[in-house]
Symmetry: C2
Subunit: 142 residues, 2 copies
C-alpha cells in the first residue's frame, strides 16, 4: 500500500510535530511516499536546493503511484489544495483531517466535496482513529 500524505509546507509549519505523529501512524498501513513532510527542519521556505519544478513533478509522480491520500488541512495551503484537487480528478480516496478553531472555517471546496472523507478532530488520538476507520473501509475492497 502506497500512501500520499499532504500537509502545509510553505503555508506554515506550526503543526509540523503533529504531521510527524500522523506519518508515524500511517506507516502501520503502508509506505508513506511523502515522509519528508514531517521533518522538523523542513522550513516554511520549503526544500532547500531543489528547484520548484523538480518538487512538483516528483510529488505528482508520488500522487499517481499512491492508492490513498491523507491530508491535514488545518493550515490553509495552496499546495495541499492542489494535491487534493488533482487526486479528486484521479478518483483516489481522500481523507482530510481538520482541527476546528474559533473564527476559522474550512474551505467549501474541501468541506463540500463529495470526493473527500472529512474528519473534524481535536486530539492526535482522534486523528489516528479517523485514519484507522478510513483504512478499514478502503482496504476491505482490495
Amino acid at each position: 500500500m502506497r500512501i500520499y500524505f499532504a500537509a502545509s509546507v510553505r503555508g506554515g509549519r506550526a503543526d509540523a510535530g503533529l504531521y510527524r505523529q500522523l506519518i508515524r501512524h500511517l506507516r502501520k498501513f503502508g509506505k508513506v511516499l511523502t515522509e519528508h513532510i514531517g521533518e522538523p527542519d523542513l522550513a516554511t521556505k520549503g526544500e532547500d536546493g531543489l528547484p520548484d519544478q523538480h518538487i512538483h513533478n516528483r510529488d505528482m509522480k508520488w500522487l499517481r503511484l499512491s492508492q490513498l491520500v491523507v491530508a491535514e488541512v488545518t493550515t490553509p495551503s495552496l499546495g495541499v489544495g492542489y494535491e487534493i484537487g488533482r487526486a479528486s480528478e484521479k478518483g483516489k480516496p481522500i481523507l482530510c483531517l481538520f482541527r476546528p478553531r474559533r473564527g476559522k472555517k474550512l474551505s467549501a471546496m474541501i468541506a463540500g466535496s463529495p470526493d473527500v472523507t472529512l474528519c473534524n478532530y481535536r486530539t492526535a488520538e482522534e486523528a489516528r482513529l479517523a485514519i484507522d476507520r478510513f483504512f478499514s473501509v478502503h482496504t476491505k475492497k482490495t
Copy 2:
C-alpha cells in the same frame, strides 16, 4: 469567453479590493462566472446561508464551463489550490498572479507546475498587463 476567477475566501480577505479590480479588468475579455469573489461583504466565513456542498458543486460546474482560469495566489488558500489542481487535470489554461512579499514563498505545486503560467507582480497595473498578455496568447488559437 467564460472565465473562472479564483481567489481566497475563507483563507483570508485582505486583498478583496484587488480581486474586485482584477474582475473588472477580466470582464473586458468575457463573462467572469465567479464575480462574487470580489464582493466586499463576502466574509472570511464564506457565503452565508449556502451549504458547502452547494458552493462546491456550483463552482465545479463553473470551472467545467470556463475556457480559462485566472487565480490570485498571494494568500494561501486550500480552495484556490484545489481549483488550480482540478483545472490542471482538465487541461485548462491557468494564469496565476502572485505578489511576492518578504519571507513568503509561493507553493512549489504552483511555482513548479508546467501547466501554470505564473506572473509575479507588484502593482494592480502589472497584474492587468499580465492578464492582457495571457489572453492575447490564449485567444489567438480560437
